[in-house]
Symmetry: C2
Subunit: 98 residues, 2 copies
């Protein structure tokens, strides 16, 4: 979970995830979506995401295709839900005490 949450804490990486969310995308295409940043910078972000299990990588000849791997967020989602459920429980209690 630690790797995933640390990876997701960066806005560029979140943007990349949104990009590859709807299907595979190759490194170069992803990089051109961030004109303000050099290509190696994007490549490093992709590595962080891959190491955290948030994206899958597949080689296709010359290129590398990246795709979202939502399961990587499972633990993070679990944490948030655990926090969230507190609110729901409190809400429930508040309603019951009405």
């Amino acid at each position: 979970m630690d790797d995933a949450l640390r990876a997701v804490a960066d806005p560029t990486r979140r943007a990349i995830m949104e990009l590859v969310r709807d299907g595979e995308c190759c490194a170069g295409d992803i990089a051109t979506r961030f004109p303000a940043m050099s290509r190696p910078a994007v490549s490093q972000h992709l590595k962080v995401l891959a190491d955290a299990g948030l994206v899958d990588v597949r080689r296709d000849g010359n290129r590398r295709l990246y795709a979202l791997r939502p399961e990587g967020l499972a633990d993070a989602a679990g944490f948030i839900e655990r926090m969230w459920s507190t609110q729901l429980r409190r809400l429930k209690e508040a309603v019951e005490n009405e």
Copy 2:
């Protein structure tokens, strides 16, 4: 969202959130739960959490009581759900193509 996700990326801060999850807790009590760390370090983490809107602070005489504020995670939860839904949609499509 950025502040919340950055705050949540730290394991100590997540532990603090779990601690104050079930009710208010004062700064000192929280700090004693982290014997490996100095009290000011914990105080700084609490500030980060408060600034990110993940905890509420309330003064009670001398002490400061912290409590979880789950709404602070709303945007983060939204992001995760947006990623997550991709998987669900794909799963659905896979089932339909069976």
